[in-house]
């Protein structure tokens, strides 16, 4: 394999021989070999200052790195919160079954597919989601998932390689504009193939139209979205557009008078209906679904600052950004030449960090500005590891220039000349856009030496994360940039005084920085006017789970949780309404519907055992089990713990063991109290925020749903979610169609035409397949003592 190792030499030549080059080098090697062969790793050690211990430590810490060869294609199964509550475990089992994987195996015997568990693919509105190489499949069931495999193999056979193009469309006056969403959800929904079809059709017609990619529109539950603006006319929006329909949409608008098919929202395309009327409703009144409230109320209570001009901007069109007020704040700051004034203005605005802790941003800047030592560094934290959140991803993908403008302003305010954007590798689109935006800014003189002729120098670099939730914690993030395992350190010293390579370092979250241009453009007062208590301005949330309209939302602080779910999110598909809202992900908690009036502020959420967190908001309904959810988060936290400090490393595991036995009906008397006690130990003694908050999902669910814990202790799962505690049975409604028997993968049902079928409980693996195929809803789920007629979605 000697010539094969050429790639190592090249990577070393590109990234250098320092210890800090280890992560980019490993990423390059994995790109080349698809895993990390030992020979390549040894070669790295020969060529660089990186020791075997360092390379072994780092490559086994980050989950991106693989040490075994993989199949031809990688199937990433999302186990993020939204996907979990929508049944990702069933998907995982179905795939393992389809690929005939044995216990502990991840690759099928032909070496075609390798299964991988991932936390949040960032398109939670399409949950449950899997990604096969670069193609995302959403809204899956254990039934449809095998179709996804076939579909993918079919594409491969036909040589259709998904490609990404980010060419900015030129825009001419008088042209019709066809906007296509290219946010992650839209892309996952298939917007690239729709876009190809749109382009092909426009070309074929020779029509006077430009196709314009736009960032997230905030309606991720309806992707892909296509919006058409013809000269003078009102924009028309199509939801859930399929590639086959793209051409017809184009023909409808560019050749007026034809028959138009408007796509009705719904999972099953059989339900699409044909519309024959010629009147086009403007976007604000476009009914996406008979049950949906009008979109205007969807946008109603929102206030867009970080996501300003959402849906209007081509993410990478710098002229357009400028035309919408971009760079004015930066230019004004440079012109005024009083960086300390900027710090003061931001302090006055009341802006607090949006990364979770809510530390006053102005105060942090002032500390860094005053800290002795140079150089000073700036880090933009785009690690976003909460497994049910995608705010920062959307901001980076849809508003790259806004985030970067915020960065340049903050660097100027603190006198910093070197900055890093730490973005997780799981966000390829965000990385791609930021990379392109940086290049454009450099060529436009918005970065580099004496930017915009101001005499102020700034260089920005991208650092790709490698898959570790804890690397979002600020001291861990710095360790990661320095090429180490992302293990947090005790503070003080705080990074503001001693950060990267021991120098003062300002770390801010993506969203925090995206607020900055607006604040300086509109004044601290305008920002300060919004909000409640000490929580000022707006907050971006990613709304997902059991909600009709999921997506990226931005609301003024102080809005109630109920308003977010019911008015902005359109309530739950289940008519009983929401049961609870999970806020803040693995560090947060569950707020029950009874406390729905709680205003969204740092303090009031904390008072109910939740946290604002970074903005993941997952709506739960009555089919969601709170004990299962606590177990889910503890599994996540336990796995993501850096493994350093005793309380977190061991305490999370011990809590998880109790939660697991509760979910399996093996609970022991006193387990609830034991959990509470273990939670206190873990929270009290842990070194960093991960461990300190790890017990929140457990404590908040015990606090608000203690009866559910009690039920599990007695062997019941009231939500019928915990598989070990439920049983599938067939009722008298059975018409003897044999469908269940045919679909059952483990032959737990014997076919008996025209007679009532039976399920052999000892064989049943609770895969849910029979229930999904039964035409007469005769397959039902039950848990001892829980009524059996409940629908589980």
């Amino acid at each position: 394999m000697s010539e094969d190792l050429q790639c190592v030499d090249e990577a070393v030549a590109e990234f250098g021989r320092d210890a800090s080059a280890v992560i980019p080098i490993l990423q390059r090697l994995q790109q080349r070999y698809r895993y990390l062969p030992e020979a390549a790793l040894r070669r790295v050690c020969e060529l660089t200052e990186i020791t075997p211990a360092a390379i072994a430590g780092v490559s086994t810490f980050y989950s991106q790195f693989r040490h075994k060869p993989v199949g031809r294609h990688i199937i990433s199964i999302c186990h993020g919160t939204a996907c979990h509550v929508k049944g990702s475990e069933l998907i995982q089992d179905a795939l393992a079954r389809d690929l005939k994987l044995g216990e502990g195996e991840d690759t099928d015997s032909n070496g075609v597919f390798t299964l991988e568990r991932v936390a949040c693919l960032g398109c939670c509105t399409l949950a449950p989601v899997i990604k096969i190489d670069d193609i995302t499949y959403g809204h899956l069931t254990s039934q449809t998932v095998s179709r996804a495999l076939h579909d993918f193999l079919e594409l491969e056979k036909r040589g259709i390689v998904p490609e990404r193009h980010d060419r900015t469309a030129a825009k001419g006056a008088g042209l019709a504009e066809i906007r296509i969403g290219v946010g992650s959800c839209c892309e996952a929904g298939g917007s690239q193939s729709v876009r190809r079809e749109l382009e092909a059709e426009v070309k074929r017609l020779g029509a006077a139209a430009v196709i314009k990619p736009v960032g997230c529109v905030g309606m991720c539950h309806q992707t892909p979205l296509v919006q058409i603006i013809t000269g003078g006319g009102e924009p028309v929006t199509y939801a859930k557009v399929r590639a086959e329909e793209a051409a017809r949409i184009v023909r409808r608008h560019l050749k007026p008078g034809g028959i138009v098919r408007r796509i009705r929202a719904g999972v099953d395309t059989v339900l699409e209906h044909l519309l024959t009327d010629d009147t086009w409703e403007p976007v604000s009144r476009y009914a996406l679904d008979v049950r949906d409230a009008p979109v205007c109320s969807f946008l109603g209570k929102q206030k867009r600052i970080a996501s300003e001009w959402c849906g209007d901007l081509d993410p990478l069109d710098i002229t357009e950004y400028a035309a919408h007020g971009g760079w004015t704040a930066l230019k004004a700051c440079l012109k005024a030449g009083q960086p300390e004034q900027i710090v003061e203005e931001v302090t006055r605005s009341g802006l607090r960090g949006r990364g979770g802790a809510g530390f006053p941003t102005g105060r942090k800047w002032a500390v860094v500005r005053a800290a002795p030592g140079s150089p000073k560094y700036l880090v933009c934290n785009g690690d976003e590891g909460d497994p049910g959140a995608f705010m920062d991803r959307m901001l980076l993908e849809s508003f790259p220039y806004r985030v970067l403008e915020g960065i340049v302003i903050s660097a100027y305010a603190m006198g910093i000349h070197e900055g890093f954007l730490y973005i997780r590798a799981e966000y390829p689109l965000a990385l791609q856009r930021i990379r392109a935006a940086l290049a454009r800014m450099e060529s436009d003189g918005l970065l580099g030496s004496s930017l915009l002729g101001s005499g102020f120098d700034l260089t920005l670099k991208i650092v790709e994360g490698a898959g570790a939730f804890v690397s979002g914690e600020e001291t861990a993030l710095l360790a990661s940039i320095e090429g180490q395992r992302a293990m947090p350190k005790f503070r003080p010293p705080y990074p503001a005084e001693s950060g990267l390579w021991g120098k003062p370092t300002a770390i801010n979250n993506v969203e925090t920085l995206a607020m900055v241009p607006w604040i300086l453009r509109n004044g601290a007062g305008a920002f300060q006017e919004m909000g409640a208590g000490s929580s000022r301005g707006t907050k971006v949330f990613s709304l997902a789970g059991k909600v009709v309209r999921g997506g990226l939302i931005e609301v003024p602080m102080g809005i109630s949780v109920r308003d977010i779910v019911n008015e902005i999110g359109g309530g739950t598909p289940d008519e009983r309404g929401f049961k609870a809202v999970q806020i803040g992900g693995p560090s947060g908690g569950c707020l029950p519907a009874s406390l729905g009036n709680t205003p969204v502020t740092y303090e009031s959420l904390a008072a109910e055992g939740c946290i604002m967190g970074s903005g993941g908001l997952v709506v739960l309904d009555h089919s969601d089990c709170m004990v299962d959810l606590a177990r889910y988060f503890m599994t996540f936290t336990q796995h993501e713990s850096c493994g350093k400090c005793t309380p977190c490393r061991v305490g999370t595991k011990r809590m998880l063991e109790i939660l697991e036995r509760l979910c399996e009906g093996r609970g022991v008397k006193g387990d609830i109290e034991r959990l509470e006690e273990f939670a206190r130990t873990t929270a009290g003694g842990s070194l960093c925020g991960l461990g300190k908050t790890a017990a929140n999902p457990v404590l908040s669910t015990i606090r608000h749903f203690r009866d559910e814990y009690q039920a599990h202790l007695e062997g019941r799962c009231p939500a019928l979610k915990c598989r070990k505690l439920v049983a599938y049975t067939i009722t008298e409604d059975c018409i003897g169609c044999t469908k269940c028997a045919q679909i059952c993968p483990v032959e737990a049902i014997t076919p008996a035409p025209y007679r009532k079928h039976e399920i052999q409980q000892d064989k049943c693996t609770k895969c849910d397949s029979c229930r999904q195929v039964c035409p007469s809803n005769a397959v039902v789920l039950g848990s001892p003592g829980v009524s059996v007629d409940k629908e589980v979605g």
Binding site: A56, F490, P492, C645, R649, R654, G685, L687
Partner: protein, 524 residues
């Protein structure tokens, strides 16, 4: 220069000093595990927590820099409780035996693997000392003990247990050989014992059976003046009058009694002590009385002037004290029908308790340490344990039935031992702190303990199951942290050899590893 208060005492220290260092300056020692002086703090174990009363938070003192106006408490109940919890957590994932299962099963708690290592290394004198530290009549017991230790022996999971009993007999027989290089001299035996707390005191021992002989042996070894009184013609009790001759030749018993005699113990044979007046007389002439008369007179135990119940004379667990503070009872008078080794163990405990009492110290008997236990072995673990052992089958002694080992055979058999005890059992920080804070392996239940794994280099043993992830060796050598979360382990990169990963830092790592995870193969 910041000024702060620690446990109510005010101190001014240099900037940048940690709370730990500031406390040391005041003579306050705080427990640490992951702290490595001279290297940057790692902050992983959290055992060093103290409370900052100003913020109300518990902080790791090894890492927290002092700040002006800090008010620190280092020893409140809250702080101690927190440290206990940290230890409980560490112990819940700890895979190791402090003492070998044979030792913990042995009623006399003899350090069996140490004895075996000494035999294997040809250190026969030391082996005899190890045995006699717990067992007063090793040559005798080497012939008659039913060897419960062997039933617990781990090697039995692989093929057959180590012949512990024969090895013990070998160690004793070698020492008792008339022409041995190192016959057990009274001085030698005394040297290996703790000196008496009150050397001028006199002790009467009623009954010359195994319990009484053992008590006499240990008390005399410490320097007490002992008199054994027995109604029989010759000492030995049941050993002489009940045990079959072919199992225990009388000259073996005589020789071991001789050892005791040489220690200065007086034997008054043909002397029957009456439960009433006899005892009163002894109480008047001696400072303590050991009551080990056995059951030669059937159910007459209740005649002794101390409390008894339906089974025998009542004693306090561990100290063998009766209701009369001067009288300590052991052997069959306490509980009939027991193994001789148990009676011998009683003798040792009684000697210890009497020494404590006469020395005016709290009477607690033999000190109990903390014991981490592996318990039931998991699949594959026996294979790990076999890694450094001789794979051969159990060695049988040559010669006629009832013969003992020759030196060659004994050495050969001793190589079969898996060395289940922890090589750091006597200087493990985790164990010491667990004793100090009363920590337990049982608090955090539901635990699936990590698999026992062992890596051996020519000189060092590495057992990651005992590793607390303190990172000291990672900071010092080429070992690395591998993985993340609960599954984090310390290991050798690329599966290379332990020796190469440790390199020149081996000695430093072994010395600083706070547990037995990294230890020298040979006893320190």
């Amino acid at each position: 220069m910041p000024q702060l208060t620690i446990n109510g005492r005010s101190v001014t220290v240099e900037n940048g000093v940690t709370v730990l260092e500031a406390a040391r300056g005041l003579g306050i020692t705080l427990p640490t595990l992951c702290h490595l002086p001279g290297k940057p703090a790692f902050t992983s174990c959290m055992i060093c927590v103290v409370k900052n009363e100003v913020t109300g938070r518990l902080i790791p003192s090894c890492s927290a820099p002092v700040m002006e106006g800090m008010v620190i408490t280092t020893d409140s109940d809250e702080v101690r409780q927190e440290r206990k919890k940290i230890l409980d957590l560490l112990l819940s994932e700890h895979s190791g035996d402090c003492e070998a299962p044979c030792t913990t099963t042995c009623p006399a708690r003899m350090d069996i693997p140490l004895m075996i290592r000494q035999i294997a290394g040809g250190q026969l004198k030391e082996a005899y000392e190890t045995v006699t530290d717990r067992i007063a009549l090793p040559a005798v017991l080497g012939r008659i003990c039913p060897a419960p230790c062997e039933k617990a022996c781990r090697r039995g999971h692989h093929d057959a247990p180590v012949s512990i009993c024969l090895l013990k007999r070998f160690a004793a027989d070698e020492a008792l050989k008339v022409d041995a290089d190192v016959p057990p001299s009274p001085e030698g035996l005394r040297r290996t014992s703790r000196a008496a707390s009150a050397p001028d005191k006199r002790i009467a021992i009623i009954g010359a059976g195994p319990a009484g002989l053992a008590a006499a042996f240990y008390l005399a070894r410490s320097g007490y003046a002992c008199t054994v009184l027995d109604e029989h013609e010759a000492p030995g009790g049941q050993l002489r009058y009940r045990v079959a001759r072919d199992k225990l030749p009388m000259d073996v018993l005589d020789r071991e009694i001789d050892v005791i005699r040489k220690l200065g113990v007086l034997f008054q044979m043909n002397t029957r002590i009456e439960p009433g007046a006899g005892i009163q007389r002894l109480k008047a002439n001696y400072d303590a009385i050991v009551l080990t008369p056995g059951r030669t007179h059937g159910d007459s135990w209740h005649l002794w002037p101390v409390e008894s119940d339906g089974r025998g004379v009542k004693v306090e667990t561990g100290t063998f004290r009766t209701s009369d503070p001067m009288i300590f009872a052991g052997g069959e008078v306490v509980h009939a029908g027991q193994m001789s080794v148990r009676a011998v163990a009683h003798g040792k405990s009684i000697a210890c308790a009497i020494d404590q009492w006469l020395g005016g110290r709290p009477v607690v008997g033999l000190e109990k340490s903390f014991e981490s236990r592996l318990g039931q072995l998991k699949e594959g673990e026996i294979g790990e344990m076999m890694k450094d052992a001789d794979p051969g089958t159990r060695v049988e002694p040559e010669g006629e039935h009832g013969a003992g080992y020759s030196t060659d055979k004994a050495v050969q058999e001793s190589r079969r031992c898996l060395q289940c005890d922890c090589r750091k059992a006597k200087h493990c920080k985790l164990r010491d702190l667990s004793v100090e804070y009363g920590a337990s392996q049982k608090v955090f239940t539901g635990s699936s303990r990590t698999k026992f794994v062992k890596t051996v280099s020519p000189q060092v043993i590495f057992e990651p199951g005992k590793c607390i992830k303190c990172g000291i060796c990672v900071r010092l050598s080429g070992l690395a942290f591998l993985g993340r979360g609960y599954e984090t382990v310390v290991g050798v990169p690329f599966g290379d050899s332990l020796k190469s990963a440790l390199g020149s830092a081996a000695a430093d790592c072994v010395r600083n590893c706070p547990t037995g995870a990294l230890a020298w193969k040979a006893d320190a």
